[in-house]
Symmetry: C2
Subunit: 385 residues, 2 copies
């Protein structure tokens, strides 16, 4: 496989890495945050705004797009990039996570998973090969192997068998892609394929899974099953167990994570890529991220507040609008309110990654991380009271 | 009063006028469409987008802002312009229309109207003087007199008495503004005051009301009570009855109207300014305006449609997105869908006014109007089938 990932700098005090990932639709500076465009749109945000926010890649959810509008539609439009008017890189998940969290009447076999979708209940079947075919048809720049994402807590025996099946599925994905890529993508750009490490909260399973997945050889590696309700210590330990097995010259993606401090902790543990719905989901509930923790802008304390969400922030919301006005919009259920908080929150996450990259380059990432985590936790605890 | 309105051109075949209205926050080219910012935000749209759409003025609803966030809040922020970060002209209504359409337990007396608001049921009282005080506190560039907007159909005797009371209220507004403006506006910019003609669907009442309101002498004149469910012929007749009494050198505002063909018909009848929730409200339901009539983008016929909403349109939605994608967004309840249609619809209305201004200047407005109305109606009828 071609060399897609370049390591530009490494932190001396942690495993943090500064890198650059090359895709068919552009470069991605890592550590990178990927806004989530579940149904072909990052909720509340236009592609132009994503560009202005300096987002370099967005995530699409294969399951959602498979269910609605359906693959025939996206194929007709020439792939997801054309459909959603986003010409930057796209990463798609395999659909596995949503099948296991949203769909009904799942039946998992070695062959694949049968389910009824949550929209109209139609039956469907996805195998590792079908997951690959779908993602190549979507035109993803980074595709993911089909995995089973077990729930938390999970019995050891089930987790072990599931992780082994996930490995066999990963192998089938890699094989299928090698044999069918040219036909499947039908003129769309070249894609990468990332393997996913599973193993629930069991250290030996995480290690075994990481070793087995790496043995297959992928363009990058993801840690899956780490945003399923487990305590933060278990999440971090799962990453720490798998990380030493992952080759240093490939990108690492911690799936579905996390809070701002968690992202910095994961970067310190050698992770490069992140996706998370928190910035967009919390925005719709009136919650904004700041370096001092989250603010619930619905609170009465903000009624007369002329300050922007965050004083030194350069996002569109903070350049033009007060907390008091945004609070009014949220209370009055005006769309502009959630739009402004969404822009701020995405800016916050993307800017945090930018800061992390700079600090790694400067060799000061570890101090930065510690100071950020302390400041964030302290004031957040105060704000919650 | 100072001269705010300049007539730049007149149509030879109709009463259409091309003019320019000067306010404390900028010029307004007439005929003008004013996007409706009910609660201090044009639904779904940011002030920056309004500028890009070339909107020159927005409307604020006094009743809504009075109820939420409340006047103390807007006063604290230094007026509505500052609060909502819109530095262009703002017209506010007096609150009358919403009191009569939204509030509960109304009690109308000569003194004013007592009501319970529709949000928390709190009791409030608004008189002509209070309506002026509120609008000056909001910092409106164009304020409106308090009027009673009767429902349709309306008994002649009630309509006659109501129109007479509206005239007395208008006189009280003008008197109060003259005596209290400097104190009330507290350093905010100078405002204009428009009187409102009422009289329901009765020709003699419309004429009497117009004459009486003009006798008071306002900066501009509005036709009220014309968007309350009456047939289009009655709407047009109400305007036609009042218009000859309105001085030619003052702007005329047809309140709460209308569809695109109606706007052109009203321009032909000497109207200069319009506000209407149709472009934003219909957008939220998936309906887009085109020169060929409205399109309901929820319809299955658009699933695979790669065309923009309107082929020759230069709006942000039509420059970048297909009908098929927007349909998907609307069906999936993605906010971007209603945002894109809202941008298109506002562009359509604003561009229609721009075309009307150009056609009046060129002396070809009448042909333009006839061709537009014919094209719009024909295809709309087809689309409805």
């Amino acid at each position: 496989m071609q060399k897609n990932f370049e390591r530009l700098a490494s932190d001396r005090h942690s495993k943090a890495r500064r890198g650059s990932l090359t895709t068919a639709h552009g470069e991605i500076d890592t550590p990178a945050f990927m806004p989530v465009g579940t149904q072909g749109s990052v909720k509340g945000v236009s592609p132009r705004e994503l560009r202005e926010l300096t987002a370099q890649i967005v995530l699409g959810n294969t399951y959602h797009l498979f269910v609605r509008p359906g693959l025939d539609v996206i194929k007709h439009f020439g792939g997801l990039h054309n459909f959603m008017s986003w010409d930057g890189p796209i990463l798609t998940d395999s659909g596995g996570y949503q099948i296991f969290s949203l769909a009904k009447l799942r039946k998992i076999t070695e062959e694949g998973v049968e389910f009824q979708n949550h929209i109209d209940g139609a039956r469907a079947f996805i195998s590792p090969e079908i997951a690959m075919e779908i993602q190549l048809l979507l035109g993803s720049d980074i595709t993911m192997t089909l995995d089973e994402c077990v729930s938390y807590p999970c019995e050891y025996d089930y987790a072990a068998q599931s992780a082994e099946m996930t490995t066999r599925w990963a192998k089938r994905c890699a094989d299928w892609k090698r044999q069918n890529e040219e036909t499947a993508k039908r003129g769309l750009a070249d894609s990468m394929l990332f393997g996913i490490v599973q193993g629930a909260t069991f250290e030996d399973l995480r290690k075994e899974s990481a070793q087995a997945i790496v043995d297959i050889d992928f363009d990058g590696y993801a840690i899956g099953g780490v945003s399923v309700g487990e305590p933060q210590e278990e999440m971090m330990r799962a990453v720490e167990c798998a990380e030493p097995f992952l080759p240093g010259d490939k990108p690492r993606y911690a799936m579905g994570l996390g809070t701002p401090p968690q992202l910095l902790e994961l970067i310190a543990r050698g992770m490069d890529m992140f996706d998370c719905v928190l910035p967009t989901r919390l925005a719709r509930n009136g919650t904004a991220f700041t370096a001092a923790g989250t603010l619930n802008l619905k609170n009465a304390e903000f009624i007369l507040d002329k300050n922007p969400i965050e004083g030194n922030c350069t996002c569109e919301a903070c350049r033009g609008f007060s907390r008091g006005y945004i609070r009014h919009l949220i209370k009055a259920e005006e769309i502009l309110g959630l739009r402004l908080i969404t822009l701020h929150n995405l800016h916050f996450y993307l800017n945090l990654m930018k800061q992390a990259r700079t600090e790694i380059e400067k060799g000061t990432f570890d101090q930065f991380r510690k100071a950020f985590v302390t400041e964030y936790k302290t004031r957040d605890a105060v704000a919650v009271e």
